[in-house]
């Protein structure tokens, strides 16, 4: 069982948390401008990394806050924990962020052209 440090509550067992899948999937600002295929890329296509992976967790049985985690999927080492809306600062996290195919996707460009969340 993972030991995850909630930025608000401190270290807790992972059964207090809810996994939220890949982080930094920007929601397109003008979805109607995307083809079905481009929209499907945003919606269904997920990175399946072996190694550092950027993902979201929520402390669902605690403070209910969402946050981002850089986790090595091969070793389960937690490399970095950082707030929603921010980008990773660790070298592994930055590399994983920049190396993600999604950075070049039509959906992400669409999102960045409009109002952007993260």
């Amino acid at each position: 069982m993972l030991h995850i440090t909630c930025p608000w509550c401190g270290p807790r067992d992972d059964n207090e948390f809810h996994y939220g899948g890949e982080a930094h999937i920007l929601r397109p600002a003008a979805p109607e401008k995307l083809s079905d295929g481009e929209w499907a890329e945003y919606l269904f296509l997920k990175q399946n990394a072996k190694g550092p992976f950027l993902e979201r967790w929520s402390h669902s049985a605690g403070c209910r806050q969402w946050f981002n985690v850089v986790r090595n999927t091969a070793t389960d080492e937690i490399i970095e924990i950082y707030p929603m809306g921010e980008l990773p600062k660790s070298p592994e996290g930055i590399k994983a962020y920049e190396g993600n195919w999604r950075r070049q996707s039509a959906a992400e460009k669409n999102a960045k052209a409009g109002v952007s969340g993260t």
Binding site: M1, D13, G20, L34, W39, S58, W66, M84, G117
Partner: protein, 1003 residues
């Protein structure tokens, strides 16, 4: 009674003043307190303990610890009975009943042993080869196999014992209470660190309890153990847990342990569980799990009386029993010479030492030879006589490269063979922790390499085999672990330890026999699964070159012992055939648990009523007192229906359903999910989450809303009301409440953090009573003077605040029945008072309490969907015919883009329809398959399934809803629902059956 004729007079740690009586296969025996079942049976000269899995060969005791593959026992009777326990671990108590397994009709004569004669029918992979076809016969085969072979039997009914869990946090967890583990605990404990030391046995000291030829600080090792344990017990932050097997090593230093709290007592004392599951999070872990001796792979090495050399020493020194009166030692290393000396010391004769090494020198060999014991250098055992107990062996000289034998065979009489093939460090937990193993050529074994968690290995499990080195290393690593966990302190000076000096070993993975391998006699590798060296070689030749494939094909390393004594031998034999290095072949994955664990311990107290929390409303008590039947809805207990004396289910439901439409019915709706939403951007948020428009909802107005997932499929529905400026009250389905709250939080926090809006669950804060039916207004008016109930002042889909029966309330004019209806919300604690007041006021109108079943019938009559019943995550609003609630004007909402895909409106999607059975009295089963082209038997093309089905007393017939392929275009068609005993003909209709014009809503 033959007595304990194999008991050694002056050895052992058993308590001779406390005799213990037990039975084995119905026969009564005596042992002493401190005996294991294995040592007590040996004391009584019993060596035939079980039959092997595949060939039903007689088997005895191989080991003295948890690695035992053969001596498996069914312990106790009835529902307390437990299968597959190792006789070597069972502590005896008065009245213990043990039975052998896998024999029929009895242990000494076993019908299944003919399998052994037809052994050519059981080659490697015989399950796969024999039972591949036809598949339909597999169940039959399996039944026969399970009966004839198989292991122990599961108890017939539920486990009557009590189990507990403990959650523990440690600075340093030390696994194993042998010399290295005790040393680590002493060093860590002295720093003041919080230490947990666990050992799977009943006694501290590990291997030290089996040795008589070493000293620590001039003391007997057992003395040092006693003093060390006393010192540890005096440390307030140190917890010592005996009989606790650390079974699993998981992520981030999370380990589980199974403590057998009272198994050794027979019955658990009051307030004491049978077993306790430890869940430990440790900052640092020190593994001191020791090493397991390897068997040698020689002809018929499985006969009762063939034992691991170190186990023989344990039986002699720790338990004071003699496993044989005349022993042949068979070894490839010096350690077995200690066993020879221990046997001589206990007045057991050693007939010979057979050593595969070409030249044996050193102090141990000298000591043995000084006793006049013959040492056969460069020899191997080539045959074993005696099937139910060893009677003699033949030994021959090995040829130049050890693959064959030369010269003539010499016969040696004996009743025990003590074998030693070297040692395998117990790296199971290290490997579970994802640590990488490396191959140590000198030891010919895997030892811990790179760790991937905060741990250290010490002592034999680290390949540190000497006593002095183990103690020193244990102290050092114990102190280091404590420091890494934030404590200060140095390792204490290591005690002076002496023990016999040892030389190296000669790994000879197969001892050649007189005939070609597999021809005469069997070289067993895996005793529990009856896998031989020939099987491993055959599998490799057949192409099973990966060790994981080999394992599954031959079953080596499977079973309850998970190959503790067999894995490295199998691996070495495989790599020999592959002409590859052992480390290149690699090991199979070590998985938890280390030894079999009782499922009851994992369940702990979460059984029966404590299985899951039960949520009850404030009106629950009244419903119970008034004869309600209940059903589970998620964790909630909801009143299902209220039968009157002598009423059947159907009669009760028909009465309730009619009462609502004819007069007035009352429902406890408190379980509905309720979320309080506040903030200046609340309306904007709702507008993005729901499919319809929310920006212009006035204060005091309610609106029905549908939520989609981003993939366009229906997720939840409910009514949301504008309570005041920037303040909304959302309702969700009973089962979906927690999900919806999480959904809103996720969108807010991760996608739209700029919106100023807050969500609070208020499900438990409000009691909700719904009154439905044409008389509901009249009832309510009697109790409420500060609200104008006229249809103009209080229209449908409006909310008013007022006082009902003196209780401050919110009244929502919303309806899940199509009738005039009010949902009265009061602060939760007034729920029962409100209910009772309404019942009293409604008496003159024959107010009728109803439950969830009637609620379902009433909504189905009106064609209202239930999310999760009419939908299953693949149904979109268009499928439901709910286009009316999907805004065409809003630029975006969750699910909009997905819903715009062409395929989402495809006419051949499964769509919601009504079904009317040909015979109006026939009620379809929910889940029934709907077909168009009926065939005499399946398979038939299925168009969809029945989602809701009831008898409707208001329609005077059965009604049903279904999701049918292309359903919207099928109205008027006749379809079929084939059931087990008949076929029901149905007509497709609109999914609405009653009050089609909606005229009843104002009463």
């Amino acid at each position: 009674m033959s007595g304990q004729s194999f008991r050694i007079r002056d050895k052992g740690r058993i308590d001779r003043s406390k005799p213990v009586r037990f039975t084995f296969d119905g026969k009564s025996y005596e042992g002493f307190e401190g005996d294991t079942l294995a040592s007590a049976l040996i004391a009584n000269g019993v060596h035939l303990i079980g039959r092997s899995f595949k060939y039903h060969r007689p088997r005895g005791i191989l080991a003295a610890g948890s690695e035992e593959p053969n001596a498996l026992i069914q312990l106790g009777g009835g529902n307390k009975s437990e299968p597959n326990l190792r006789a070597t671990q069972i502590e005896i108590f008065d009245g213990l009943e043990a039975a052998s397994q896998n024999r029929w009709p009895c242990l000494k004569f076993d019908v299944g042993a003919v399998n052994s004669v037809f052994h050519r029918l059981f080659p490697a992979g015989f399950y796969y080869k024999t039972f591949m076809w036809p598949a339909s016969l597999w169940l039959k085969y399996e039944h026969v196999i399970r009966h004839a072979a198989g292991l122990g039997k599961a108890p017939p009914d539920r486990d009557p014992d009590r189990y507990e869990k403990v959650h523990a946090h440690a600075d340093v967890l030390i696994v194993g209470g042998g010399p290295a583990g005790l040393a680590a605990a002493l060093a860590a404990g002295k720093t003041g660190a919080r230490v947990i030391l666990a050992d799977e046995t009943a006694d501290w000291g590990g291997s030290l309890l089996s040795e008589s030829d070493c000293e620590i600080d001039g003391k007997e090792p057992a003395r040092w153990v006693e003093e060390s344990v006393a010192e540890l017990e005096a440390m307030p932050e140190v917890t010592l847990v005996k009989r606790c097997t650390i079974t699993g090593y998981y992520d981030h230093n999370y380990l589980t342990g199974l403590e057998r709290v009272s198994d050794h007592l027979g019955a658990a004392p009051e307030h004491t569980p049978r077993q306790r599951l430890w869940k430990i999070r440790a900052k640092r872990v020190v593994l001191a799990t020791g090493a397991l001796e390897r068997p040698l792979v020689f002809t018929d090495n499985d006969r009762p009386g063939v034992m691991l050399s170190s186990a023989v020493r344990t039986y002699v020194n720790r338990y004071g029993v003699l496993p044989g009166r005349k022993t042949v030692i068979f070894t490839n290393n010096d350690d077995a010479y200690r066993t020879a000396l221990a046997l001589e010391d206990a007045h057991g004769r050693v007939a010979a030492i057979v050593d595969v090494r070409t030249s044996v020198t050193g102090p141990l060999a000298d000591a043995v030879r000084a006793k006049g014991i013959t040492v056969y250098e460069n020899h191997g055992i080539v045959s074993v006589q005696g099937t139910q107990k060893v009677t003699s062996v033949e030994v021959m000289q090995l040829d130049a490269n050890g693959t064959g034998v030369t010269g003539t065979a010499k016969s040696v009489n004996c009743d025990l063979i003590a074998m030693s093939g070297g040692w395998n460090p117990t790296v199971h937990l290290f490997s579970q922790s994802k640590g990488k193993l490396t191959w140590d050529t000198e030891m010919a074994a895997f030892i811990p390499g790179t760790a991937s968690q905060a741990l250290a290995s010490t002592g034999a499990c680290n390949g540190t085999m000497g006593l002095a080195d183990s103690l020193k290393e244990g102290l050092k690593l114990g102190a280091e672990a404590a420091r890494e966990a934030g404590h200060k302190g140095r390792a204490p000076a290591a005690p002076k330890a002496t023990e016999p000096e040892q030389g190296g070993l000669r790994p000879l993975w197969i001892t050649p026999g007189k005939a070609k391998l597999g021809r005469k006699g069997k070289h067993f590798v895996d005793f529990q699964n009856d896998v031989t060296a020939a099987d491993v070689q055959l599998a490799a030749r057949e192409g099973y070159r990966s060790v994981e494939h080999l394992k599954r094909y031959t079953t080596t390393g499977m079973g309850t012992d998970q190959g503790k004594t067999s894995n490295v031998n199998a691996l070495a034999i495989l790599s020999d055939v592959l002409a590859s290095d052992i480390p290149a072949v690699g090991t199979t994955t070590f998985r938890p648990p280390y030894t079999p664990a009782t499922i009851g311990a994992y369940t702990g107290r979460n059984v029966g009523k404590l299985f899951e929390p039960v949520r009850k409303t404030r009106i629950d008590e009244w419903a119970r007192a008034n004869g309600a039947k209940f059903e589970h809805v998620g964790q909630w207990m909801r009143a299902w229906y209220f039968p009157k004396q002598g009423e059947t289910f159907r009669q009760a439901i028909d009465r309730e359903v009619k009462a609502v439409r004819d007069g007035c019915g009352i429902l406890d709706a408190s379980t509905l999910g309720k979320i309080d939403i506040q903030g200046p951007d609340a309306a904007e948020f709702l507008n993005r989450i729901y499919t319809n428009a929310w920006l212009k909802l006035g204060v005091g107005r309610c609106r029905y809303g549908l939520m989609l997932k981003e993939d366009g499929m229906v997720m939840d529905d409910g009514v949301t009301t504008c309570i005041g400026e920037n303040h909304y009250h959302m309702t969700t389905t009973t089962g979906g409440a927690a999900n919806v709250l999480s959904w809103l939080e996720e969108w807010h926090q991760t996608e739209w953090p700029d919106l100023k809006v807050f969500f609070s669950s208020v499900t438990e804060q409000w009691s909700v009573v719904a009154i439905n039916g044409p008389k509901s207004r009249a009832v309510l008016q009697k109790l409420c003077e500060d609200v104008d109930f006229s249809a103009e002042a209080f229209p449908f889909m409006a909310m008013k605040e007022g006082t009902v029966a003196g209780i401050p309330a919110r009244l929502y004019r919303i309806s899940f029945t199509g009738e005039l209806s009010f949902e009265i919300n009061v602060p939760a604690r007034y729920g029962l008072a409100l209910w009772e007041a309404l019942m009293e006021a409604g008496k003159e109108f024959d107010i009728t309490p109803y439950g969830t079943e009637t609620m379902h019938v009433l909504r189905a009559e009106k064609g209202f969907i239930i999310v999760g019943q009419e939908t299953d995550g693949t149904v979109n609003p268009l499928d439901l015919g709910m286009d009316w609630i999907v805004s065409k004007k809003k630029p975006d909402f969750v699910g909009k883009r997905s819903l715009e895909r062409e395929s989402m409106a495809s006419p051949d999607r499964k769509q919601l329809v009504g079904l009317l059975t040909e015979d109006p009295q026939t009620v379809l089963p929910e889940g029934g398959h709907v077909v168009e082209k009926l065939k005499p038997e399946p398979p038939m093309e299925m168009l969809g399934h029945v989602t809701s089905s009831y008898y409707s007393p208001n329609c005077g017939r059965s009604i049903a809803m279904a999701l049918i392929k292309g359903g919207h275009a099928r109205h008027g068609q006749t379809l079929h629902v084939p059931l087990e005993d008949k076929v029901v003909k149905v007509t497709v209709t609109e999914p609405r059956f009653f009050d089609l014009e909606g005229e009843r809503i104002d009463g």
